[in-house]
C-alpha cells in the first residue's frame, strides 16, 4: 500500500538535537524548572537550526540498518517549550531517498504531520499517533526525538551530585506510556540530559538513553552522538549529528507544502 513502514510509522517526527545553556546559569529553585530547562536545552536552542543525521539501528542479532537525513528546525516566536516546525529530508536508505517529512509541533495539541512520496507526487497527511512508537524503525520513539512535554510527568529531585541533577519522573497518565517511571541525569551547568533510564513496573531498567558526545557549536553545547538501548525490543540505535548549525537563514515557507514537494536544495546539502 502507500504506507511503507516509514510512512505508516505514524511515529515519525523531526529530531531535535540537544544543546545546553551557557555556563553560570543560576541554580533553579524547583525541580519543574530543572526539567523545563532540560527540555529547552534538549529541543529548543537557537531560534532555528539544521543538522545532518546518521542513524544506525542494530537489532538483537547485531544486524544493522541505517537512516540518513537532514533536519531543519525552527522555533516559532523563539519560545522555549512552545511551537516548532521541522522539515526532514531523507537520503538513505534508497527506498526512502527524496522522501520529505514536515511537522508542525504544537504545545497543546496533536502535531500536524505530512509526508511527501516523490514517486507518487503525493502529499500525505499523517493521522496523529501514539508518540511512544518507533521513529523510522529505530529504538528512539517519536517522543524521544520531538520532546516529551515537561508537564506530562511528576518530577522529584532524587539526588544532586557534583555534575548532575538526578530527577525521578512518574507519568501523570500511566496508561498512555510503556514505562512506570524514569530517571534522568541532567548535567548541571548545561542542563543536557546525559542519561535517561526507563523502569518497568517491577523496578527493572529496560530502556536507556545516553548522550555520548557533546560539542559546542555556534555557542551552544550540542549532543552530537547519542544512543538508545531497549531490552524489550532488543538492540541499540546510535545517532550521530554532523554539519550542525544554528540561527541560519531559514524562511518560514520552508515548512510548507511548496518545499515538501520540491526540497530547498541550499538547506539540505
Amino acid at each position: 500500500m502507500l504506507a511503507k513502514p516509514l510512512i505508516a510509522a505514524g511515529a515519525m517526527i523531526a529530531l531535535a538535537w540537544s544543546q545546553g545553556f551557557a555556563q553560570g546559569t543560576a541554580s533553579p529553585a524547583d525541580v519543574q524548572e530543572i526539567v523545563n530547562k532540560a527540555s529547552a536545552a534538549a529541543y529548543y536552542q537557537g531560534t532555528n537550526g539544521r543538522a545532518t543525521v546518521h542513524m544506525s539501528i542494530k537489532d538483537a542479532q547485531g544486524r544493522e540498518r541505517t537512516r540518513d537525513f537532514v533536519i531543519l528546525r525552527k522555533n516559532i516566536d523563539d519560545v522555549d517549550n512552545g511551537e516548532q516546525r521541522f522539515y526532514v529530508f531523507f537520503k538513505r536508505p534508497a527506498d526512502v531517498n527524496k522522501t520529505s517529512f514536515l511537522v508542525w509541533k504544537h504545545a497543546d495539541a496533536e502535531d500536524d504531520r505530512w509526508l511527501y512520496l516523490p514517486a507518487l507526487d503525493l502529499v500525505k497527511r499523517i493521522a496523529p499517533s501514539d508518540e511512544r512508537t518507533s521513529f523510522v524503525g529505530s529504538h528512539f520513539f517519536y517522543e524521544d526525538v520531538s520532546g516529551r512535554g515537561p508537564e506530562e510527568d511528576t518530577h522529584v529531585l532524587e539526588e544532586e551530585t557534583a555534575d548532575y541533577f538526578i530527577v525521578r519522573s512518574t507519568p501523570k497518565a500511566p496508561s498512555a506510556v510503556e514505562f512506570a517511571r524514569y530517571k534522568n541525569w541532567i548535567h548541571k551547568s548545561t542542563f543536557i540530559p546525559v542519561q535517561t533510564q526507563y523502569y518497568d513496573a517491577a523496578g527493572e531498567v529496560f530502556r536507556t538513553y545516553a548522550a555520548v558526545s557533546v560539542e559546542t557549536i555556534d555557542g551552544h553545547s550540542t549532543v552530537v552522538q547519542s544512543s538508545m538501548t531497549d531490552t524489550r525490543i532488543g538492540g541499540t540505535t546510535h545517532m550521530q549529528y554532523s554539519d550542525v548549525a544554528y540561527d541560519v537563514d531559514l524562511p518560514n515557507d520552508i515548512f510548507t507544502e511548496r518545499y515538501l514537494r520540491n526540497p530547498p536544495l541550499r538547506h539540505i546539502r
Partner: protein
C-alpha cells in the same frame, strides 16, 4: 563464546551487586565527551585532552557493550550506484486464480529496473526516471512510451526552476497528484494506470506520467497552481489486453478477443488539458478549490460507428483535510460536466455527475491504522438518461455508493507491513480487496506478496466485471 559468557557473567555479577547496594550508591554516568565536570569538584581531574572516541558509555550501559562488539553481521553497506544513479531492480510474478478463457493464466511475470538521476545546477534541477522492463504477459510489439506498453516506461524527465521568489515551474514529463481521497480520485484528473494497479505492481505505478508544465505560485493569501498539458494524456485504462472487462456491445465479458481501440485526442495544443488548484490553510485545515478542463480520462463515449472515444469533460470541485478527534478528516467533492452530453440525453456519451467523499483515519492500536471512506457518485441528468436509453437497455442506479476500508499494521520493528484495502459498493454489490505483506529483509532488499481480489454479484458492475482477473503475486526488490 567462552569470552562472551565470561563477560556476560561478569556483567551480571556487577549488575546484581549494584542492585543490592543502596540506591544512593548508584554510579552516575560518566560525563559524555565535550561536557565539562563541575568546577568545584576537586576530586575530579580536569583535562583538556580529547576524550577517546567513542567515549566510555555510562555505567549502566555496560551490559550493551558485548553486543556492540560482537562480530558485525549484515552490516555491509550497499555499494554506491554508478554515475549517481538511484533506483531498484524488481522481479515480480503473479497468476490468476480464476480461469479466464480470454486471458493468459500469468497475470504478471516481469523483471524491471528503474534508473533515476537528478542533476542540480544553479538555475534548474533536472530529474530523469525511467523503467526498463521485460514482462512475459506484455506484447512487446506494441511498444509505446505514451501507454507504457513494451519495454520502456519514461516516468520523469523534467526541469524545475524557481524564476521568482514566489514561483516554481516544473516542465516536462512528470507525475502529478492532488486531492485528498485515499485511492479514490475526484479532482485529480492526472493520468492513472489501472492495469498496473490491478496486477500487483508497486503502488507508485498507479500514477502514469503527464507531459505537462506546472506553475505554482505561493502567497500568504493562497497558493495557486496551474497545470497545462498540451496534448491529452489518457489513463492507462482497461482495454482487455491484460485485464478482462464487460463489453456492453457484446453484452458479455471480453478480453484479448475484444481489445478496446479507443480514439484518443492527439493534436498538440488543441487537444489539451488544463487543471488548476487554489489552496490554503484555514484553522489547521487544508482547504482547496479545483478546476479541470479536458477529456474523460477513460473512453466514456462511443461514436455512432461504434468507436470508443474520450468525450470532453470539465470539473469543478473542492476539498478539505484536517485533524478531528484524534484522527484525520478528509472531504472532497467534484462536479463533472460531460461537455459532449450537457443535457444528459446522449446515450452514447457518459452523463455528467457529482462525486463526493468523506473519510476518517486514525490509529486504533499501536502501529495499526484504520481508515474509512464513503464515496458517492450521483448522475446529473437522470431523467434525460432514462428517456434516451436504447430499447432493452437498463439504466444504472442514479447513485453509486462506495465504502472503502484500509487497515495497515507495522510489525517487527517496522520491517513487516501488513495492509489491506477494500472497496465495496452496497448498491452495485461488488468490490475489490487489495492486500499486501511486505518485508524489509535489509535496507536494500524488500520481499512482497499480495493479492487483488475482485468480486461482485453481476458481471457488468464496476468491480464485478473484473472478477476473473483475481490474482495473487510475489515480488522481490533490490534498491540501490
Amino acid at each position: 563464546m567462552t569470552n562472551w559468557r565470561a563477560h556476560m557473567m561478569a556483567t551480571a555479577i556487577v549488575t546484581a551487586l549494584s542492585a543490592i547496594g543502596p540506591a544512593l550508591a548508584q554510579e552516575p554516568p560518566p560525563l559524555p565527551a565535550g561536557l565539562s565536570p563541575a568546577e568545584t569538584s576537586g576530586d575530579r581531574e580536569q583535562t583538556d585532552e580529547p576524550v577517546p572516541n567513542p567515549p566510555a558509555l555510562p555505567a549502566d550501559l555496560d551490559a550493551a557493550t558485548p553486543a556492540d562488539r560482537a562480530p558485525e553481521k549484515g552490516t555491509r553497506k550497499p555499494p554506491s550506484p554508478p554515475l549517481g544513479l538511484t533506483g531498484f531492480i524488481d522481479a515480480r510474478s503473479g497468476a490468476r486464480i480464476i480461469a479466464d478463457p480470454t486471458q493468459k493464466t500469468l497475470s504478471i511475470g516481469e523483471l524491471r529496473a528503474q534508473l533515476g538521476r537528478d542533476v542540480e545546477t544553479n538555475i534548474a534541477t533536472f530529474r530523469f526516471v525511467g523503467d526498463f522492463f521485460y514482462d512475459q504477459v506484455e506484447d512487446v510489439s506494441d511498444a509505446d512510451i505514451e501507454t507504457g506498453h513494451g519495454f520502456f516506461d519514461l516516468r520523469e524527465a523534467n526541469a524545475l526552476v524557481r524564476p521568482l521568489p514566489f514561483l516554481d515551474i516544473k516542465a516536462g514529463r512528470q507525475i502529478l497528484t492532488w486531492g485528498v481521497g485515499d485511492l479514490v480520485f475526484i479532482n485529480d484528473l492526472f493520468p492513472k494506470d489501472f492495469r498496473s494497479f490491478f496486477i500487483g505492481r508497486d503502488d507508485e505505478y498507479l500514477k502514469a506520467p503527464s507531459d505537462a508544465i506546472r506553475l505554482s505560485a505561493f502567497s500568504e493569501i493562497a497558493n495557486i497552481e496551474f497545470v497545462y498539458t498540451p496534448r491529452f494524456d489518457a489513463d492507462r485504462f482497461i482495454t482487455g489486453d491484460r485485464i478482462s472487462y464487460f463489453n456492453p456491445a457484446l453484452q458479455r465479458l471480453a478480453g484479448r478477443d475484444a481489445i478496446i481501440d479507443a480514439q484518443s485526442p492527439t493534436e498538440w495544443f488543441k487537444d489539451d488539458e488544463r487543471a488548476a488548484r487554489i489552496y490554503r490553510s484555514v484553522a489547521g485545515y487544508e482547504v482547496a478549490l479545483y478546476g479541470y478542463s479536458g477529456y474523460w480520462k477513460t473512453p466514456e463515449g462511443v461514436t455512432a460507428a461504434g468507436q470508443p472515444f474520450h468525450p470532453r469533460l470539465a470539473v469543478l470541485g473542492g476539498s478539505l483535510r484536517g485533524p478531528l478527534k484524534g484522527g484525520l478528516l478528509t472531504a472532497e467533492f467534484g462536479h463533472y460536466f460531460s461537455r459532449d452530453d450537457l443535457r444528459g440525453d446522449n446515450s452514447l456519451v457518459r452523463n455528467g455527475e457529482t462525486r463526493f467523499l468523506a473519510g476518517y483515519e486514525r490509529e486504533i492500536a499501536s502501529e495499526l491504522t484504520a481508515s474509512v471512506q464513503y464515496v458517492g457518485e450521483y448522475i446529473s441528468d437522470y431523467g434525460a438518461l432514462e428517456s434516451a436509453l436504447a430499447p432493452g437497455a437498463t439504466a444504472p442506479d442514479r447513485m453509486r455508493h462506495l465504502i472503502t476500508l484500509r487497515l495497515t499494521k507495522l510489525m517487527l520493528n517496522q520491517t513487516l507491513t501488513l495492509s489491506g484495502f477494500n472497496y465495496w459498493s452496497p448498491n452495485e454489490q461488488d468490490g475489490y480487496f487489495r492486500f499486501r505483506a511486505s518485508y524489509k529483509l535489509s535496507d536494500a532488499w524488500l520481499a512482497e506478496a499480495g493479492g487483488n481480489i475482485f468480486y461482485g454479484v453481476d458481471e457488468d458492475t464496476f468491480f464485478g466485471q473484473l472478477e476473473n482477473n483475481t490474482n495473487l503475486f510475489v515480488g522481490i526488490r533490490r534498491y540501490f
